[in-house]
């Protein structure tokens, strides 16, 4: 498909406009089970801990 044809079908850079893309996770290393339960996930790459910013310093 030429660039013009792609554009005409609503594609840009291999992706379709007005559509959501999310990378599909690939299976890799996992946390040990005790930590996984504590963290809320078994996958290090999905672990996004939250640090509260506006708590009063004690």
């Amino acid at each position: 498909m030429t660039r013009a044809e792609n554009m005409s079908k609503g594609y840009q850079g291999g992706m379709r406009l007005a559509e959501v893309y999310i990378p599909i996770q690939t299976y890799g290393e996992t946390f040990d089970l005790k930590n996984a339960l504590m963290y809320g996930t078994i996958f290090p790459e999905l672990y996004r801990p939250y640090r509260p910013v506006h708590r009063n310093p004690q």
């Binding site: 599909i24 996770q25 996992t30 089970l33 996984a36 339960l37 078994i42």
Partner: protein, 85 residues
Amino acid sequence: MHDYRSMVELLKEIQALEFGVYELALFLDTHPGDRRALEDHNRLVSRLNQLRKAFEDRYGPLRLDSESPYPYRYINDPWPWEIQY
């Protein structure tokens, strides 16, 4: 009291194992062709079944389709929201 603590410790081990199983199951829902994830899932499932059996033999059924000694032990306290973990 000593028995209560060891019951809670065993329960936490089950929670950790079952969490691993559940997390891998969600992964497999969208990756049914991932052989390594499936093998890990199946391995955790068989460990979980053993541990659950060990817990139920000592402390009573976790599910109503588990066998119970007389009198029916599933109903016994503590219920999950009453436990100090």
